[in-house]
Each structure stands twice: as C-alpha cells, then as structure tokens.
C-alpha cells in the first residue's frame, strides 16, 4: 500500500516536472514566434540591443514560468487576481533572470 502511494507521488512529481519543462519550451517558442521588426529614430545599437532583447526575454520567461509554477502548486494558486498582480510586480523586482546584468 505504501509502495503504491510512493509510486503515485513519484508519478505526480514526474508529471509536474514534464509540465513545467513543456511550459518553459512553449514560452520560448511563443516569444520567438511573435518577433516584429524594430522601429526607432534613435540608433537602437547592435550588441546593446541584442543584450536588451535577450535579457528582456529571459526576464519575461522567468515571470511567466513563476506564474505557471504558482498556479501548478496548490497553495500559491489560491491567490485572488489582485494579489497575483502584486506578486507579478514583486517578481519584477526579485526575479533573478537578469541578475547577470
């Protein structure tokens, strides 16, 4: 009986991990698929622009991933939309995706 429960727990964790990985891949695919040409009258730079685009995509992906994770794991998914917005704002400050900058 314990063995059955442990097997079932392991499969749930495995399922969630696969789901999270799937979300992350989906996110990057979507981000790349919706690219549009740049329009600006100032010189947007070359290396600096690539750096900003890469950093922004990574930060955006980090925000979305966190949101999905929070929805996936029960106790974080219970928040009302207002709280969630606050969390997103906090994420913007604490997310480590751009910490290399």
């Amino acid at each position: 009986m314990f063995k059955e429960r442990a097997d079932s727990g392991r499969s749930i964790v495995k399922f969630r991990l696969i789901f999270v990985l799937f979300c992350a891949v989906e996110l990057f695919v979507l981000l790349i698929a919706f690219e549009q040409p740049a329009h600006a009258y100032v010189d947007p730079g070359s290396g600096l622009l690539i750096f900003q685009v890469a950093g922004s995509m990574l930060t955006g992906a980090c925000f979305m991933l966190r949101r999905k994770l929070r929805r996936l794991f029960g106790h974080w998914g219970q928040q009302n939309p207002q709280q969630e917005n606050q969390v997103n704002s906090d994420e913007a400050q604490t997310c480590g995706a751009n910490s290399s900058r």
Binding site: Y41, D43, P44, L48, G60, F63, E91, Q93
Partner: protein
C-alpha cells in the same frame, strides 16, 4: 566676403526628431510638433502626472500657442532656461542626476502607456543646481506588448558609458563634446583590464554587448509579450539602469583644487574674513540679479552671491571642485549652476554647422550684470599667458556693469609658483599696470587691501 551674423547662425532649428523641432526666435523658445505626434505629447503634458512634473520643476513648462504652423503643425512655447549648459560642461554628479531624471520620467510614463523614445543628456538642462527635462517631444505612445525600450542603448551609450569611462578609465566627461551619441562598447573594451571586463557593471555595459555585436542582424526583430509581462520587464530594466547609474556615480575624489579652501595657507583667517566681507558688501551695494563667478572652485563666493538673491553661474575647469560646489548648492537650495569650463579656452560651438550648441561666450554675453574673478588673474597672466589688456576686454564682454576682481602681486607665493623663473618676462606686472590696462574699460569704485599683499577691487564698466 559676406559674414553671417552669429545670431542668425544660432537660430538653427533642431532637426533629428521626426516629431518636430525647436528653435529660438526673437528671444522666444518655440517648438513645432507635427500633427501625428502632438496628441500624445499634449495629452501627457496636460495630464495630472505631467502637471506634477512641471510644478516640481523637473519638466519644462509648455504653453500651447493658438497659432499653427504649416501643414497643421502645433506651436508650443517654453520659458527660457537662464543659462543652458551642455553635458560636456557638467560635473559627474550632474550627469548622474540627469540620468536619474530621465529614468524617473520614463518610469512615470509607463503608467500612461507612454515611453521616452530617446534618452540622451541633451534632453536635460540645469536650472540652477536642478536638472530639468526639456525635450517634451521625446514622449511617445508605447507598444504595450513590447518589453523593449528602444532608447535603452542610447541611454547606455550617452549616460552610462561616459560615466563608466570617467570612473574606470579617467576619461574626462568633457570629452563627450566629441561624441554626440556617446560611446560604443567597442570604444571602451580595449582599454579595460581582464578583471574590469568581467566585473559588474562593465560586463553588462561593455563586454557582453561588445561580444554580441558580432552577431549582426540578430536583433532586428523585437519580442512580444503580454502587456502585463512587458510592463513588468520594462520596469525591471529601468530599475537595473538606475542601479547602474548609482554604481557609476562618482565618489568623493580629490583633485588639484577640490580642497583649495581648506589648504589655502597663503590666506590667514583674517584675510579670508576681509575678502568675504568685501565681496558681500560689494554685492549688497550692487544688488546684481545675475553673477558669473569665474574660477569659482568650491563656491565660497558663489554661495554669498546666491544667498543675496542672485542667480549664479559658477565656472571652473576643475570638475571635482565644482562637484562640491554643486552638491552644496543642491543641499542649501541655492541658485548656483556649475559649469565645468576653462575661461582661457572656453567651450566652442559644436554640432552641425557649428550651430547646434552655442559657444560658452555666446551664451554668457549680455547675461550677467556682475562678474567675479577672484584668485584668477595670475593664472590667466602666467599659465595661459594672456596679456592684461586682453583679460580686461574679456571681462568687459562678459559683464554688463560690475566686476569684482582680485589682484595678486608678484611677491605672492602663488604668483611665484606660476612664475617658474620667468621673472624678467613678467616684471611689468604691478597693480599700476593692472589698473592702467583695466582703466580703458572699467572705472574703479572700491579697493580693499589684504594683509597678504593682495588687493580686491570693485570696478564698474565704462
């Protein structure tokens, strides 16, 4: 040969921004805005946030004029900023303050679905010690699904890289005179040590962008994200930029002149006191509204003039001394505007047709009713080798009426320091020859001798 009058040349209108242009016409600062851009700009200026920014003095006041220019262009008017100074005349702290102002405005705009389309120090002027954002046509509609700030690279090039070059390489900020659009990462990269290249924030500002530059064309397309995520990413990026500005803000560096008031051993406390009293009494007698303090150093005399209600422009070639001057003026809320420039080699006119930015003397002429030149004369005479008569002509050019000047005799230790064995060449420099040379342009009003042999004069323009 027909010479174009300077005033006509200086009337060149700005031309890079497709939204409109700015010109100075008959003493009025006029801005035209093309119809398709005007709604966005005017909406922000008239919004509550826009009004708050104007009332706090951080955004230039804008009046929409009833008349329109050709092709339905809107005509706006701004008040004059008393003395426009350019980034190459700012102290390091002024650079950081202008950078933070730009980021603050950009962040405030995000809430209104707006953004700044350009981000350069040229969008900021100083009114006294306070930075004012003056280019209202920089405001544009934001693509709410884009997490990219198009002016991000320009902000890095024109604000952060000059500050980084100043902090880590000692390149003067005045060198930005030659770089309208700032430095590229490739300009700094070869000059950084291996350790510097991979340390923060140079790794993000210089090394990675420099290495990524080789992937040309890869960033010609922009990512799209949900509006909520895009805004959060933009805010995050602005916060990171602000963090970098603060990390690049200069500390308290010493310089040749920044500790001059404390180390001026050739002045006794009594002489100091007599000098300050003389300047104060002269200013009380004249009540000037605008004072140009040449060789202002850390601003002892600028603060006396500002304390008596004058607008002061404090000019010195030592950026660190002026940095102290600026910080004190900010703390004491005094109308002192520091300008890093050398009076013997004043800032030239630069830009397209030499007419985008006016020379220092063109901006200064006719603007000041009093000039102070304290402890400056011997530097001009001996270091810059300018004759007395020429110095008098410059002072006459700069002041509308009054001149407070300090004569340093040949026996003075500071005079001797600069003389360096050229005694015979400058043997003619005495108080009498000084008064003779200045007598063509000025009449003597007051004289105050100091115990150290120096003499202070209040002169009036003839």
């Amino acid at each position: 040969m027909v010479q174009t009058p300077l005033a006509d040349v200086s009337r060149i209108a700005t031309f890079r921004d497709p939204a409109g242009s700015l010109r100075v016409e008959n003493g009025r600062v006029l801005r035209t805005l093309r119809h398709e851009y005007a709604d966005t700009v005017l909406k922000f200026i008239q919004s509550k946030t826009g009004e708050e920014w104007v009332n706090s003095g951080r955004l230039v006041r804008t009046t929409v004029l009833p008349e329109q220019e050709g092709a339905g262009e809107h005509l706006l008017e701004h008040p004059h900023i008393f003395f426009p100074s350019y980034p190459w005349e700012w102290t390091p702290g002024q650079w950081a303050a202008a950078a933070e102002l730009t980021l603050d405005l950009c962040e405030a705009l995000l809430d209104h679905r707006l953004i700044l389309k350009d981000a350069t120090p040229l969008n900021v002027l100083f009114d006294g010690p306070q930075p004012v954002f003056v280019d209202v046509s920089s405001v544009e509609q934001r693509d709410v699904s884009s997490p990219i700030w198009a002016a991000w690279a320009q902000f890095v090039r024109t604000f952060l890289l000059p500050l980084a070059a100043y902090k880590y390489l000692g390149w003067p900020l005045a060198a930005s005179l030659q770089k309208r659009d700032g430095y590229e990462p490739a300009d700094l990269y070869p000059h950084l040590s291996l350790w510097q290249r991979w340390s923060s924030p140079l790794c993000s500002l210089v090394t990675l962008p420099y290495l990524l530059e080789k992937r040309k064309g890869a960033a010609s397309r922009m990512p799209k994200q949900s509006p909520e995520i895009a805004t959060a990413v933009l805010r995050r990026n602005l916060r990171l930029l602000r963090k970098m500005v603060r990390s690049l803000s200069p500390g308290k560096y010493g310089s040749r002149w920044s500790a001059y008031p404390e180390n001026a051993t050739h002045y006794s406390a009594e002489d100091h006191s007599v000098k300050q009293k003389f300047v104060c009494n002269s200013l009380l007698k004249m009540r000037p509204s605008a004072v140009l303090d040449l060789g202002a150093n850390t601003g002892t005399y600028s603060r006396i003039a500002a304390g008596l209600g004058a607008r002061v422009v404090a000019l010195d070639s030592d950026a660190q001394a002026l940095e102290r001057n600026w910080r004190d003026a900010q703390a004491q809320k005094l109308s002192i505007q520091p300008v890093v420039a050398d009076v013997a080699r004043p800032t030239p006119a630069v830009g397209w047709r030499n007419a985008e930015s006016l020379s220092l003397l063109d901006r200064a002429r006719g603007r000041f009713d009093c000039v102070m030149a304290l402890g400056l004369m011997h530097h001009l005479l001996l270091s810059d080798q300018v004759p007395l008569r020429e110095i008098s002509r410059l002072m006459r050019d700069l002041t509308q009426r009054w001149l407070i000047v300090e004569w340093v005799p040949a026996a003075d230790p500071k005079f001797q320091e600069l003389l360096r064995g050229r005694d015979a060449l400058y043997a003619h420099l005495t108080e009498e020859t000084f008064l003779d040379a200045f007598g063509h342009d000025f009449a003597r009003v007051l004289r105050e001798p100091l115990k150290n042999g120096r003499a202070l004069f209040l002169l009036e323009r003839r």
